[in-house]
């Protein structure tokens, strides 16, 4: 089995979402593909059904460029994180249930962070939420089983879009302080080399999957023609961004 992986240049929200969508559409049969990326400028991504107007209730969000993800979960303030999208065929064992893919990618992240001398752990079922009362708007203020925390701070959260043929999981590894929490570079007191970090993360995921990791050198962007322009257009469409 093949695990394709790539580390892309920072892009804007619609471009990133389109690239993730096409990652799933171009999956090798039975395989896995993962894409790591950054954002051209500080941006906000909303979960598939989050209320657009509620971002006004959180200081500092209203002025940011916004894109809506097809995946669920809470809003993410991008710019000080490493974002990933992993696509898995539904026929793959990791595609069968929500938790299996979540645990596989997050389990590899825990090992990765331990290798950096951090003390991460996975949130367990039944743990009380870090922020009480109603569900927080921001992903990193939420807690759910399988989230990766260091101390009391969530450093990795993910959410999925489950299609008939493939599952796409979006996730964000917090590098530097954003809002209440600290990122891994804050804990380390230094920067990390992102391409190397991604390589090690991929190696851990590939090992867990029993897969052969290979660089994904296929072209993206305009080379994909109409499929690309249609996907970017969907994520630029205000009707999608403000759907709720």
């Amino acid at each position: 089995m093949i695990l394709l992986h790539r580390f892309d240049r920072p892009a804007d929200g619609p471009t990133n979402m389109a690239a993730d969508e096409l990652l799933a559409d171009r999956l090798p049969p039975g395989g896995i593909a993962i894409r790591f990326y950054g954002w051209r400028e500080a941006s906000l991504s909303l979960g598939a059904f989050q209320r657009f107007d509620e971002r006004d209730d959180v200081p500092g969000l209203s002025s940011l460029p916004v894109v809506r993800r097809p995946s669920g979960g809470g809003a993410i303030l991008h710019g000080t994180d490493l974002t990933y999208a992993v696509a898995v065929c539904r026929s793959h064992p990791w595609g069968e249930t929500t938790q299996r893919l979540y645990d596989a990618v997050h389990g590899a992240a825990v090992e990765l962070l331990r290798g950096l001398s951090l003390a991460p752990r996975l949130v367990e079922a039944g743990e009380p939420p870090a922020v009480a009362e109603r569900e927080p708007y921001l992903c990193f203020d939420r807690r759910s089983p399988g989230d990766v925390v260091v101390g009391d701070d969530k450093v990795l959260g993910s959410a999925q879009r489950r299609h008939r043929a493939a599952v796409v999981q979006h996730g964000s590894l917090l590098l530097r302080r954003a809002g209440r929490g600290s990122g891994i570079e804050d804990f380390l007191g230094r920067g990390v080399d992102l391409p190397s970090l991604c390589q090690e993360w991929v190696a851990g995921i590939a090992s867990a999957a029993g897969a052969d990791p290979r660089p994904d050198v296929r072209p993206v962007g305009d080379a994909l023609g109409e499929a690309w322009s249609a996907a970017v257009g969907r994520y630029r469409d205000d009707a999608w961004t403000r759907r709720r």
Binding site: F49, T98, A159, R162
Partner: protein, 129 residues
Amino acid sequence: MAALKFAPSHEWIRVEESPAAGSVATIGISSYAVEALTDLVFMQLPQVGRRVKAGESFGEIESVKAVSDLYAPVGGEIVEVNAALPGTLDTLASDPYGKGWVAKLRIDDPKELDKLLDQAAYDASVGRK
């Protein structure tokens, strides 16, 4: 009551023949799928009057970690939706084949029902005896 049929994507369908309305099918989500989704938080129902093809996404459901598409088992026109369901998502787990129905659809081509699984075949496909 008519027997249930199932799509591999975990939607169930029950067809009621009505002289006035023709073949109208009730559609819902299998108990297996509901259990697998866990912790449901939001549901997007289709618009009444919308036409869908077999296999086309007609709604979405969100759990704590995932959004899943709902696929039409057969093609037709949405004639009614369970408007109370998004506010009572627990019903999907407590009564998935009754009060947890999602939508009713007037079927275009009853032959499409022949491509669906009966209860025994569906149960076998998800590892339930």
